[in-house]
Subunit: 610 residues, 2 copies
């Protein structure tokens, strides 16, 4: 072909283009030879166009057309023609036309494929994919599949929308180093041996945390970076050796401003990329309430179903298992003034729930560390039935009134002397019910919420000392500054998590900018000056030169896109992910390297796999 470069893409021709001479480039998605008449579905990133090889084509062109196989990469020169009315395909952007081929050039042929690029739907509507290692080995083909194209394109659009929004708000994108110092806190750091400095290592950042705080000390005021981060954890569905976060930090700010900026960003991104309207404000739920109502600090709020306190029930019978939960035996309960006897009222399902189904829920509770799951039903007569009903005969009206239970409701209970254990276990049952009963509000495809007022310190039972729940630069809430040392357990941090549909999407905090306050925190968690110096010396040093009040947040991009795409794994939204062994079946990475390379780096390996 004289000039085989496309003049149009495979996604743009419509009835308005009929009669035009065009050149298309793309891949053969399907090719059907009907004896003298050949139909080719030609695909590129932008769509599919039907090519017809018929009367206008020379014998040579017909011969070429007949030789085409799936995924050949070709150019087609031809004329746009209207399809006959019965052949118009309204589900296709280009469904009104076809291109009558005059010339065909095969750029490159294709071997037989290891799996199909087209979706093969089963009778039940599901799509069965090749196993993941095969998909990853031929990732370049897997990425030709329409859902992967969608996910990767959406990811690109989201990243750009994030940048548009933040740039419009005065944020600067500043690149921070990925060769940083390994800290003694750096379990799970990836290390890079230095050639120039034998025995020394760079570390890859788990986040740009220290550097973005230094940028605040430098006065850049509003920073962001879509930053690659690294953590050497065993890979799971939502963990990768390298991951990407939307890293943000602001100076002269407060929690409210960080939260509203993040809300504004998400609103802009969802509107621009999915045309989805998020609410003007996201819910703000205290950490205490999140556990108390939903049994999780990342509750799925697409359905309501709140847990309730059922401590009053302990006094209504001599059912032993409820006594401990109601007894406020745990100091954490005392602090929260909430009991370890939690109830769920599941509306109007009592007649549907068999003993076996309830046992399945009990399994969920037990896997989440409950001793058991107590239950009873409100039957059609308004009396209790099954499970623990015999202990509460005659107390129906008090219990139903207090818990808001009605006929045909299923009542579920977990009791534990520890408030948080009871909450988490029954919260897991709540989550399971959401799935089983499909309780999700269809209007509420994406439900964001803020979890705020986190405990600042946690008691490390094994090592017998306080440690910080988040990192050590988090600002304790001001009202606790006088009692940091005297009552660490009561201190709340200026911390906030952003959750979406039951996933933690971001964690952030206001930071300490006062060196004296920072020293107090180091002391409470048992950090010697020396250890603090070794770990964070340069940040501590920087804060001696006038550090502004500042705070930030870092939404995870991989997980955000995963949720926006309704995928279950971040593997589906990363172009070239590693598998669950942190390896790439495509390029066989990691791999052994030459002796000389190791020698240059002054290192030896041992325990080497054969």
């Amino acid at each position: 072909m004289e000039n085989s470069k496309r003049t149009v893409t495979c996604g743009e021709l419509t009835a308005a283009d009929v009669g035009k001479n065009v050149v298309l480039n793309g891949w053969v998605s399907r090719s059907r030879d009907l004896g003298g008449l050949c139909f080719i579905s030609l695909r590129d990133r932008y769509g599919i166009t039907q090519v017809v090889v018929g009367d206008k084509a020379s014998d040579d062109v017909k011969k070429t057309a007949a030789s085409l196989k799936s995924e050949y990469c070709i150019a087609v020169k031809g004329v746009v023609a209207a399809r006959s009315e019965k052949d118009v395909n309204k589900d296709m952007a280009t469904g009104a036309i076809e291109v009558e081929a005059e010339e065909i050039e095969i750029f490159t042929t294709s071997q037989e494929l290891p799996f199909s690029i087209e979706e093969v739907r089963q009778k039940d509507g599901t799509v069965v994919l090749a196993n993941e290692d095969l998909r990853l080995k031929y990732r370049y083909l897997d990425l030709r599949r329409a859902p992967m194209q969608h996910n990767i394109i959406l990811r690109s659009q989201v990243a750009f929308a994030v940048r548009e929004y933040l740039t419009s708000k005065g944020f600067l994108e500043i690149e921070t180093p990925t060769f940083i110092k390994s800290t003694p806190e750096g379990a799970r750091d990836y290390l890079v041996p230095s050639r120039v400095h034998p025995g020394k290592f760079y570390s890859l950042p788990q986040s740009p945390q220290l550097y973005k705080q230094l940028l605040m000390v430098s006065g850049f005021d509003k920073y962001f970076q879509i930053a690659r981060c690294y953590r050497d954890e065993d890979a799971r569905g939502d963990r990768q050796p390298e991951f990407t976060q939307i890293d943000m930090e602001m100076s002269f700010t407060n929690r409210e401003e960080v939260l509203t900026t993040t809300e504004g960003m998400m609103q802009y991104v969802f509107k621009k990329t999915l045309n989805y309207e998020l609410p003007a404000k996201f819910d703000r739920i205290s950490w205490d309430d999140a556990f108390d109502y939903y049994g999780s600090d990342k509750p799925d709020l697409r359905f309501d179903l709140k847990m309730q306190d059922a401590a009053f029930m302990a006094g209504l019978s001599d059912f032993g298992a409820f006594k401990a939960g109601a007894a406020n035996a745990d100091k954490s309960i005392e602090r929260h003034k909430r009991s370890g006897l939690k109830a769920l009222v599941v509306k109007n399902v009592a007649d549907k729930y068999s003993r076996k189904m309830i046992e399945a829920l009990e399994d969920v509770a037990k896997r989440n560390h409950a001793k058991g799951l107590a239950w009873m039903k409100v039957n059609a007569e308004g009396t209790f039935e099954g499970g623990i009903s015999k202990f509460y005969a005659g107390k129906e009206s008090e219990i139903c009134s207090k818990l808001g239970a009605e006929k045909n409701d299923l009542l579920l209970f977990v009791s534990d002397e520890k408030w948080q254990v009871a909450c988490v276990a029954l919260g897991a049952v709540r989550k399971q019910l959401g799935k089983d009963l499909n309780l999700y509000n269809p209007e509420d495809e994406f439900h964001f919420a803020w979890i705020i007022d986190f405990p600042y310190f946690a008691w490390n039972e094994e090592e017998n000392h306080w440690e910080t729940e988040h990192h050590m630069f988090t600002l304790p809430q001001k009202k606790y500054w006088d009692t940091l040392e005297s009552d660490p357990g009561a201190v709340k941090g200026d911390l906030y998590d952003l959750v979406l549909n039951g996933y933690e999407l971001a964690s952030g905090s206001m930071r300490i900018n006062d060196p004296a306050l920072q020293q107090r925190i180091f002391k409470i968690v048992g950090y010697s000056n020396e250890r603090a110096e070794k770990a964070f010396g340069f940040l501590v040093q920087a804060f001696k030169f006038g550090a502004p009040p500042h705070g930030g947040i870092a939404p995870g991009l991989d997980r955000l896109i995963m949720l926006m795409c309704h995928e279950d794994s971040i593997h589906e939204v990363i172009a070239f992910p590693k598998n669950n062994l942190a390896a790439s079946p495509m390029d066989e990475c990691p791999s052994a390297v030459d002796e000389q390379q190791l020698k240059d780096l002054h290192i030896n390996c041992y325990d080497v796999e054969e």
Copy 2:
């Protein structure tokens, strides 16, 4: 202070704001106590505002003001007042007003600084900075300096403008992995030991080359990524262990489209960020011409001064040194039909150039491998004088007419039997003259050009075989496909470099998409199938499934910003660079790590520095 969060920045108040109550946050840039009246220059990223502590201030506030030192981080609450006419500072955006302080809160104090944040200009106008390691140790303070703020902010603006332009043209930003396979070609790869796979390593990418080509195989059509890359070279002023490139790749394209897309991007970026109009088209100069005229494949075109072929002069006298250069002894000369006797005519400077100054130029030529620098002057009478003039007495009119020389011109010559050696040496003299005589066209602050038609292969004299000048996926120009094997030295590649002001800014090429052609290249450079398989197996494999015609380019972001900022080193445009030993004096990275960390990675170190 009740609410110390700023209501305005330090860069925005004007006469229109007089009378307003405001809160400012920032750093004390200067503070002058004139006894009862105190002036504070308060600085943030956006500007400087003058704060006056006078009558309206309480004694407490006066006392606080008097205690302020440089770089204290503070909040000021006050009222905007007009400055008296004589105090208006027209050089300052906020120079029409001052803020009369009513309250001051010190957020944080500052220790004495290791160096001044304000520019300290010498009498000759130069600014003397602290030595680089001190600047890097306190980088967070160095970044407070106005030039560093400017550079980092411009960098952020340029990166965003790049993304705007490419996104508007349908490019997708796709993240490629930074944990990739180390190839046998990977001298200078940084390696990351795997914890999960003992004895195996990830490699950090020197560029996303293979992955962006795979994305073309996947059909993403137009890819870009502002990508972090890694190369373990000894650091110099313009080299860093990690650097950033604007990585681009396009499918179904040709050289022209890659070039015009890149031109469009640069035009957009320069206009948007510097309000600088680049020409609609950049010069396109063949590699042969670039050496022949400018002695470099990255010529500085801000001044013209072309070198000329002076082979004709060898026949005009018996001056021996010119014979070899004119003799076309070198096979490369034969190919280029150009001689190794090169001349520069430097206009109207003969009377200014002493013998000593010419000797300095000869040093430049010799450092660039010339045997010497021949010269003569055209004097006021139009005859030759000095240097080699005695060999050419009486030939003035022929020589001057052919070289375009006139009275008071200085003629410089390098002769070498190798054309390229002569070009490079005299080209270095040309560059030096540009600086010495300030020949730069003031209208031409940024002069881009394309260097095209590169030789595809180079003969490796040491190892006695052909190798590719660029990488092995570069497409040879089509007209040479039949003679690849028979005359490799003549083959030109579909290669292009973008140069700016004498720096190579980008390198790119059209790629091979035909597996058979790729095999021929591997064979010519002596790659066994095995070696090619081991090095690039997955790319070669991918190309068996219908690879589209594609090509790309990758402008270096660090160097682009360096040139846009008129800086000499990329250190000045990177927030946290490494020094010339690839180390960071701030965080003392690289550093020794815990024994346990090495154990987890199954490695030992030796040759360890104490």
